[in-house]
Symmetry: C2
Subunit: 224 residues, 2 copies
């Protein structure tokens, strides 16, 4: 499907850019992808997202849209086929609630696991486990947040599946407990096997190295 | 208009409950309002929002919806007359972007002005001024965020107008500068004169006392 000059500014290790790439793929929208150098951001990025100066930024019809969840809503409204959000207003509210929950609760905890040490690291890991357990309740007994097929909340949350596994292995820390979170563990398997969802996950070894480097840099003050 | 058994759980001083009350009023939806005692939350609140246990919670058709921005979207989708969000997807994205900006940037800074002391207070006030200046850019030269009439973003942001004035007066601190933010200052006057927006603003003196009491309680450890 013609994307009417759609362009996406992203970064390979950004879970937020990943959301937008998956959504565009699910809709079958053609677009130009521009990888950003976060140390030397392009004028397009700085002009397209003057408030946060962050990826992702979607450029379409001479306008720029930023904030990944806002972009997902935009994509779903402009290209109405293969809807990401369910039809029922209550189910739409549920999808938005869980996408927001991940950004507000899971992101800080999972970032904490990467950037903190000692007791603070333990605290972040504990919080991550608690939030993941809460997130599981959002599945409401179903295979995925979209019910029977990948939807808005799955697209928004899929990166969690990849990052949780990566953080567990890279930092030898347990975040998900198969016995305690069986539904979420099954969802993780499900989204990571989905061809669209897995297409945009960053190369695993590169992400591990990137995250370990980030951790070393950010914890240098504490550990030196 | 019949509200089909709509009920709202709120709290008089909650800017987030205020959003929902204004939205229901703009739509002309009849509803039952239940004031919560936040020290002794009702079973309806605890069951209706088990994740955050916070107001507002909207109850409708046996379902509960929480998170004020999610509730606003729900209201706009269930009762389609007098739409809060504009029709154009790009303008809808802009409305969502600024509502989200306020929650992510302005809320922590304005809470900081209430709860912090000394240098930390100065820092919060400086951040609040910067974020309010950025927020002004969202008006894009227009009278309100909805363009020519009160819309989704105005409903979401209106409380800022009231709280900024209140914090300035209660704590003798400048947050908004008429000369530096003329458009935002004009918007503040505009929303505070709007009959629907002002209807649900908490009684001023009661809010000042409530906020001063909160400040005393929260800063007691520091100032004793």
């Amino acid at each position: 499907m013609a994307g009417e000059g759609v362009k996406l500014l992203g970064y390979w290790a950004s879970p937020f850019a990943l959301r937008v790439r998956s959504a565009l793929k699910l809709k079958g929208i053609e677009y130009e992808y521009q990888e950003e150098d976060l140390g030397n951001k392009s004028p397009l990025l700085l002009q397209g997202n003057p408030v946060y100066k962050k990826v992702p930024v979607l450029l379409h019809k001479g306008k720029s849209i930023s904030e990944s969840l806002v972009i997902l809503e935009y994509i779903d409204e402009v290209w109405k086929h293969n809807p990401l959000l369910p039809e029922d207003p209550y189910e739409r509210a549920r999808s938005r609630f869980w996408a927001k929950f991940v950004d507000e609760k899971c992101v800080p905890a999972l970032v904490g696991v990467i950037t903190k040490v000692g007791e603070e690291l333990e605290k972040s890991a504990r919080e991550a486990r608690e939030h993941l357990k809460t997130l599981e309740s959002g599945l409401d007994g179903k295979r995925c947040f979209g019910g029977t097929k990948i939807g808005f909340a799955d697209v928004a949350i899929a990166w969690i599946a990849y990052w949780v596994r990566m953080e567990q292995e890279a930092f030898k820390i347990q975040l998900i407990d198969q016995q305690n979170m069986p539904l979420l563990a099954a969802w993780i398997d499900y989204v990571l096997e989905d061809p669209v969802m897995k297409e945009f996950m960053p190369p695993y070894d590169k992400l591990v190295k990137h995250t370990r480097d980030l951790r070393e840099k950010l914890t240098a003050v504490v550990s030196n």
